[in-house]
Every structure is written in structure tokens, then in C-alpha cells.
């Protein structure tokens, strides 16, 4: 694929999802939770209801549009927490070394051994469903790759002459980490953060699908699909649109991540996976 194609297609898809999320109250036709109308239950997609209606007669289009808010809020903020934790731990471990490095490496390996969705599921089981629980569960369980990357970059960057020079000038460790090392590893961190955001959105959808994320009646794409499963014979359109929304948003983020990698981290282009 061409170098710029990933970036522009991915970027547009993601920006579209963000725009839909921000503009949801204005572009939705009805209230996604309150406007149930049993007279209009299970209407197929048509002129009045673009994406059809569900068993309670709620407009699927409006619910999908509002669902963008939950998916993106969780995706963006949980991934931000992951990136901050992973970078802070990895950067300090790589820079300081010693027992702290051993500790962080051990913690990372431990986290890698527990499948992140399983870990998140366990945390959701303890905290109960809801947005805050989702942010905690998904924000605390997916930082291992960021941490490894930050640690590896810090290890190789700390022997650079400009870092040594800042040491000689008497800069504090924290100042060196923030002003000398961090800016030089931002590219790969942004790439892995973008790709991770797609994974986080998928994880939120999976947890909500299992009934552990956002509980009905609030529209999350995952919980909408969980309701749609039972009506797949009578109302297959219920499954199509929320799934398509997740797919296109995550596809956008993955393409954007690939595109950013080609620009920000060119050495990895040949070994990209």
C-alpha cells in the first residue's frame, strides 16, 4: 500500500468517528435511551429509521451515534493511562537500571503472562460495570508493550553524547528523562499508542458484549451487539450497524498507526508486523 494512503484513509475514518461522537446530540434523531416506542419495534432500515429500530422501538442510528461517545472516551482515555504508566515505568527503568529495572521488568513479564482481556474481566468483576471501572480495567492492563518499548529506547538513548553532556551540566535525572530522552522516543510511542487505542476499543466492546462493561440501556456498541444476538433471526440489521461502527473505527486507528509508523519510525518499516 502507498505510504500516504494508510495515513489519509485511517485518519479520515478516525476523525469521522470523533466528529460523530462530539456532534452526537445534534445529529442523532432521537434520544438513544428514552425514546422507546413499542409501536415501532423491529422496523427494518428505511427512510424514517435509517438503521432500523430495535425490540423496544429505539432508533438504531441514534444509538450508534451516541455509542461513539462511549467507545471513544474509553479508547482514548484508557489508552492514555496505559501510555503514561508504560512510559513512566519503562523510561525510568531503562534510565536508572538496577533493582528498579529488575522490578519493572518482572512486573511487565507478569502482565504479559495474564491475557489482558482476562485481567480486565477480573477487574470488572470486582469493580462492577460502568465507565469508571472500564477506564481502570482497560487502563491498567495494557501498558506492557509501551513499557518494553520505552525501556528499550531509554537504554539505547542514555549512552548518547547529548545525554551524557546534560549529566555533566548537572541536570537532574527527571529533567534529563523529560527533556532529553522522552522527546526522542515519542514517535514509536505515538505509533504504539494509536494501535493500542484500537485494541482498547475492541476490548471495551468485548466486555460490554459480555455484559461487564456498559450496561443497557445506555448505548455502547458492544452491548448493542449483545442485545442483537438474540434477535439475529428476526432483526439481523440490529447486528450490522454497531459492528460496522466498531470495525471502521478500529480499522481507522490501525491504518493511522501504520501510516504514522512509516513517517515517525522509518527504520521499522522493513520489520513491521
Amino acid at each position: 500500500m502507498k505510504l500516504g494512503a494508510n495515513l489519509s484513509i485511517g485518519g479520515s475514518l478516525f476523525l469521522l468517528a470523533v466528529a460523530v461522537g462530539i456532534l452526537a446530540p445534534w445529529i442523532a434523531h432521537t434520544d438513544p435511551v428514552m425514546d422507546a416506542n413499542l409501536m415501532m419495534a423491529e422496523e427494518p432500515p428505511g427512510r424514517e429509521f435509517w438503521f432500523g429500530t430495535d425490540a423496544q422501538g429505539r432508533d438504531i442510528y441514534s444509538r450508534v451515534v451516541h455509542g461513539a461517545r462511549i467507545s471513544l472516551t474509553v479508547g482514548i482515555f484508557a489508552q492514555l493511562i496505559n501510555t503514561i504508566i508504560g512510559t513512566a515505568l519503562g523510561l525510568s527503568a531503562g534510565y536508572w537500571g538496577g533493582w528498579w529495572d529488575d522490578f519493572v521488568t518482572g512486573l511487565t513479564n507478569l502482565l504479559l503472562a495474564i491475557p489482558s482481556l482476562i485481567f480486565a474481566l477480573a477487574i470488572m468483576a470486582i469493580l462492577g460495570p460502568g465507565l469508571t471501572s472500564l477506564l481502570i480495567a482497560l487502563g491498567l492492563t495494557n501498558w506492557s508493550f509501551t513499557c518494553r518499548l520505552a525501556r528499550a529506547s531509554a537504554l539505547s538513548l542514555k549512552s548518547q553524547s547529548y545525554v551524557q553532556a546534560s549529566k555533566v551540566l548537572g541536570y537532574s535525572d527527571v529533567r534529563i528523562m523529560f527533556t532529553q530522552i522522552l522527546p526522542n522516543m515519542l514517535g514509536p510511542l505515538i505509533v504504539i499508542g494509536t494501535l493500542g487505542m484500537g485494541g482498547t476499543i475492541l476490548a471495551e466492546a468485548a466486555l460490554s458484549f459480555l455484559g461487564l462493561g456498559i450496561r443497557p440501556p445506555y448505548p455502547s456498541w458492544g452491548s448493542m451487539l449483545s442485545e442483537a444476538r438474540d434477535q439475529i433471526t428476526t432483526a439481523p440489521w440490529l447486528s450490522v450497524f454497531p459492528g460496522m461502527a466498531i470495525f471502521l473505527t478500529v480499522l481507522g486507528l490501525n491504518l493511522l498507526g501504520d501510516g504514522l509508523r512509516d513517517i515517525l519510525d522509518p527504520q521499522s518499516r522493513s520489520r513491521r508486523i
Binding site: P115, L121, I126, G243, R272
Partner: protein, 308 residues
Amino acid sequence: MLAFAFRRTLQSFPTIAAVALVVFVLFSVIPGSIATSMEDGRGPVDAAVAERMRKELGLDDPVYVRFANYATKLAMLDLGVSFRTREPVSQLLAKRMWPTLQLTLAAMVFAILIGVPLGFVAAMRPGSLIDAVSMVTAVSGLSIPKFWFGLLLMYLFALKLGWFPTFGYGGWWYLVLPAVTLGVSPLALLARTTRAAVLEVVNADFVRTARSKGMSETRVVRWHVMRNVAVIVLTTLGLQFGSLMGQAVVVEKLFSWPGIGSLLVDSVFQRDIPAVQGCILVIVLFFLIVNTLIDIACAVIDPRIKYA
């Protein structure tokens, strides 16, 4: 080689111990008493019953005593008794083990059989149409929500065409749709990894040397390219296995597959803590065993690894 296998196996023991600790700590911080919250939905339990259960489960002991008891039992492979069915958790898990193993193995085989050749073909003709098509397939496979893909497959192949059963557990034809659903993301990742690995290996010095000394193309591919690619592919597979186990939970739930994943979800809803702990431990154990086996296989394929 035996020594390497032994050493590699020993290395996973501390991880298991640490995971057991994490799982225990996670569930001993649950607010409220397990004995009173376990009858969720059916109203609070009788105070006398709750008291008896607290005693029976040792919930009044200090946390460190409980952990010591838990660890001692765990060392003897005793995972406790399910709050819900009163069966030993190890028995519950034993019943669910085989379906999960079947599902994950079938998904892996599907992913390897399609993903690796796809990546190989793409790498042999970089920039061609087939390369573009396979890479678009790969990025889509990584982006598609598994349960949605499963629902679509279910709708098309079970409800519309009637080729496969909608859900449930039985003969091999019950396995097809869940395995394809679960296999789609490792397939996508394998296609991308294989492509990248082949591209890197065909440009390596040892391949040029092999060609220049007159080795036939088939032998170059079989001896040098395949072997090196296999190591990268296997390692990816091992790392991917964890997320596969995670996804299996969702796929099992979607297809009502009686594996460990669906037991985990059901136990979470019923606050059956011993069962939840047991499921998580078994899933981690699966992951570690698979990765140990893969590391040993890699060392057989590429002897340099043994000394690294």
C-alpha cells in the same frame, strides 16, 4: 537440548506463583463479604447460613492466613470448592478443558494454514495486487470485533445457508464457525509477520551466499528462508496465544461453547470466586505451557537460540 527444555520449564514457575498471588490479592480486596453477596438476585442469605459459610470458607481469618491456606492447597492442585455447584473447582475445570483446547488449537491451525501462505505469497511479490489484497485482508482481520464477525458467520452460514449448526457443542461441524471466528486475528497477524519476516530473510547475507554457491532455489527457501521465518512465526504465535485465550472467552460465550472461557464469565456473574480464580490460573498455565513448548521448538529449529 533436554537441559534447555528443563531450564526453560523451570523459568515459568515463578511466573505461576506470582500470578497466583495477583489473582488472590485481586479477589481478597472485593468489598463486602463474599458469603453475603454470593446469593445475588435471590435476596440476602440467612444470617446463620452466612455465618456458617464464613466459617467454612475461612473468610474470618486474616488475609495472610488465607493466602497461606490458598497457596498450600494450590501446591497440591486443590483449587477449592465452587461456591455455586459445591463441586471441586478442579473437576469443573477438567470438564471444560478439552473443549477450550479443541477450539484454540483449531483456531491456531486455521490461522497458520491460511495466514502463513498468505504472507509468503505477498512477500514473494511485494507491491503486487496480491500483496495489496492480502495486506488489506490482514489489517481488516485485526480490526474486526471477533463477536461481530462470529455473529455474521452465524447468520450467513448457519441461519441462511444451513451449512453449520448455529451454536452449541458436538461433532467437528460445531467447531468450524467458532474456530474461524477465533482464528481470524491470529491469521491476520501471522500474514503480516510472515510477510515481514520473509522480506527480511530473503535479503539476508546468508541467503545471498547460499544462492551464489549455486544452491537451488527450492533448497534456499527450504533450508534458509523457511527455517528462519519459522522461528519468527512461532514466536508471534506464542505471544498471540494470550490474546487468543482472552478472545476465546467472548467466542465461547457467543457460540455457547462449554469451555473455560464461558465458565469464567458465568462464574463472574455468580460471584463464584474459587471458580473465577481457577479459570484465570488455568488460562495463564495454558499460555505458559504453550510458550514454553514454542521456545523449545524454536531452539530445535534454530540451535543459536539455546545459547542466547
